[in-house]
């Protein structure tokens, strides 16, 4: 089932006006770009997609397709390029490839699937295609995760995107994405401003500032490729830095008052996993936070106001059983770091490195919810609401950074 972004399109997609009109036979309605996979996997994937798509509805693009293989149930074309193999998420180069395929085949929309696409249910792909056909500019799946999965997304990416761009999209850093032609063109323009094709891009915020419509589709469980970088600190720095750069670039958009995103029209995907087996991790994580507080307090004092510093000091004195970072405090910390990133209060690499222990403290606070999926979902919602509530704090500090801030 699809859930809504509150930022409805004020600029209706041209495709929407012609959603019901017949498409010329030589022009596919949808180009579906598959990642690189083995011939057996490609054959199975095509067979699965053939159960939900008619041959006239879609053109499959695959970097592994060879004309010599047996006839396929769906029309397939080959594409080449340095970005045929997606990373753990779609990067700027992947969006460029998708846009070029849509342009080349003159399709109304394009759908780019990430790594391990064979594990994505065909019905989900069909839902995404139907949304694109109905005129939606961007569709992204919402995955069911385990209680220990996607913590950075829950702590940072989802709440920030929801609060600043009024887009209630559970996974703003897309693993799979469907785009209309104009959305693909916009992502191509975004890529043109970036110097590296491996750079992370944020399609949800791009759609928001362009007044394009965005929808998410419940995708259930999907295998996701782990990042190539195994060092968490490096990866966290890259993702958080990219997010802060995006926030800085779109400051003129999110500073204007916008209606808050409504609650999702459907229940969030249920999380798998049952018992909480992370209780023994909590003391070590609390010790790590205390170590960080003792050593990085001077650096944090350059970024955070006294109120937040006092709250962190109290938190460092809390016993592990009662260790809990308030959602409002975490939201203000993230916003203060985003502001410091913008003002270059200190070296950006140092800034993001100093944020890492605070994120780990937030992760430690969430350990007690792991055994209860309902409580975990509630905590996620409370975190997002806290970011929305503290947005005025960010706007105020962004506009008047030198004003007295206790």
């Amino acid at each position: 089932m699809a859930s809504f972004s509150s930022f409805e399109s004020l600029n209706p997609s041209p495709e929407k006006a012609h959603a019901e009109s017949p498409v010329p036979s030589n022009r596919p309605r949808l180009v579906l770009c598959l990642p690189s996979m083995t011939p057996e996997m490609l054959e199975n994937t095509l067979a699965n997609l053939a159960t939900v798509f008619a041959p006239s509805e879609v053109l499959i693009a695959s970097p592994d397709f060879e004309q010599s293989i047996t006839p396929t149930p769906l029309p397939v074309t080959a594409y080449e390029g340095p970005h045929c193999q997606p990373n753990w998420v779609l990067t700027a180069g992947n969006y460029l490839v998708a846009a070029s395929q849509a342009e080349q085949h003159d399709s109304a929309s394009v759908l780019m699937l990430g790594s391990d696409a064979a594990t994505l249910p065909p019905s989900v792909v069909r839902q995404m295609a139907e949304l694109l056909a109905s005129g939606i500019d961007l569709t992204v799946p919402s995955y069911s995760l385990g209680p220990h999965d996607g913590l950075v997304n829950a702590a940072l990416l989802y709440p920030v995107t929801r609060a600043l761009f009024a887009a209630n999209i559970r996974f703003p850093l897309a693993v799979d994405a469907g785009m209309s032609r104009r959305m693909a063109s916009r992502m191509t323009q975004r890529h043109a401003t970036l110097s590296q094709p491996e750079a992370l891009v944020w399609p949800v915020s791009e759609a928001a500032i362009a007044a394009f419509s965005v929808r998410q589709v419940d995708a259930g469980t999907r295998a996701r490729r782990p990042p190539d970088t195994t060092d968490f600190n490096t990866l966290f720095t890259d993702v958080a830095g990219s997010l802060f750069v995006d926030i800085e670039a779109k400051a003129s958009f999110w500073q204007r008052a916008r209606s808050l995103a409504p609650a999702a029209s459907s229940e969030p995907p249920p999380q798998t996993g049952n018992t909480n087996d992370m209780d023994d991790e909590l003391p070590s994580m609390v010790d790590a936070f205390r170590l960080a507080h003792n050593n990085l307090h001077e650096i944090w004092s350059l970024i955070l106001p006294p109120q937040s510093l006092l709250a962190l000091k109290k938190l460092s004195l809390t016993q592990p059983a009662a260790f809990s970072m308030a959602t409002g405090l975490w939201a203000r910390i993230v916003y203060d770091f985003a502001l410091a990133f913008h003002l270059r209060t200190l070296n950006r690499g140092h800034l993001l490195g100093a944020l890492t222990p605070l994120y780990m403290a937030w992760a430690a606070s969430t350990l007690r919810f792991f055994g209860d999926p309902a409580a975990s979902a509630t905590h996620l919602e409370e975190t997002a609401v806290a970011f929305e509530r503290e947005k005025s704090y960010l706007v105020s500090r962004w506009r008047w950074p030198d004003r007295f801030n206790p």
Partner: protein, 250 residues
């Protein structure tokens, strides 16, 4: 006898006064040169800053790097690049004024005094040593902070000690280079630096290797054994069966 002493004192006072009188015009010339060129430098700096702002120099410089993550091309200073360029131009003009002033200072002496032959090179060495010290302090603070943050994120208990050691290593090296540049102390400075630098390195090695042996082994054991630590793989395949759940940040 008394008259001879009085005569000698008058002669020496007369000579000193002559030297001072010949010194003052040079000093005034030096001050005038520095002040005039400082004013010229301030005007040129303001013009340069306006020009760089008009051509959007700051935006072009920061856009040249990787916007996705901090990297080699990331602008680390809180000052904008155009502002720094203007300040560099201003201080260059001040230095030129000082050099002109020293030459004027020399011109006020007799033709064979050649004061500037000795003073000007040493003045440039002095400027070089000051620049060396400034760069060294900046590098020391940057490296100390980098080491501190990295060590904290690696959950090393001696993170602050490590950062302090790195900072003082760089500062000692910088001070030795500056003194060598000024040709002060000669071999004594080199020897003292070697002893001090080696002592700091040896101290760090002993503290980490022997004195903090238990601490290091506990830190290493915790880092290796903790499944949800920050150095753990940032994500794993969801489809794999895990005997024990772990934190998956991505």
């Amino acid at each position: 006898m008394g008259q001879q002493i009085e005569f000698a004192l008058r002669q020496s006072m007369h000579r000193v006064l002559i030297v001072l009188v010949s010194f003052l015009p040079g000093l005034v010339a030096f001050l005038v040169a520095v002040i005039v060129l400082s004013i010229v430098g301030a005007i040129l700096a303001a013009l340069l800053r306006r020009l760089l702002t008009a051509v959007r120099f700051d935006e072009r410089l920061t856009a040249a790097g990787n916007p996705g993550s901090p990297g080699l091309f990331e602008w680390t200073s809180a000052q904008s690049p155009s502002r720094l360029a203007a300040r560099v131009l201003f201080w260059l003009c001040v230095l030129v004024g000082a050099a002109v002033g020293i030459s004027a200072f020399d011109a006020s002496y007799e033709a064979n005094s050649r004061v500037s032959v000795f003073l000007l090179p040493y003045f440039t060495h002095l400027i070089g040593a000051v620049v060396l010290l400034i760069v060294g302090v900046i590098v020391a603070r940057f490296l100390a902070r980098s080491v501190l943050i990295s060590a904290v994120n690696a959950q090393l208990q001696y993170a602050r000690f490590l950062a302090l050691g790195v900072k003082w290593l760089v500062l000692v090296l910088t001070a030795a280079m500056a003194l060598d540049h000024l040709q002060i102390g000669g071999a004594i400075v080199s020897l003292a630096f070697g002893i001090l630098f080696g002592g700091i390195v040896l101290t760090l090695s002993l503290a980490v290797g022997l004195g903090s042996r238990d601490l290091v082994s506990r830190s290493i054991e915790r880092t290796m054994e903790r499944p949800g630590g920050p150095t753990e793989a940032a994500g794993q395949r969801s489809g794999e069966t895990q005997p024990r759940s772990r934190l998956r940040h991505f």
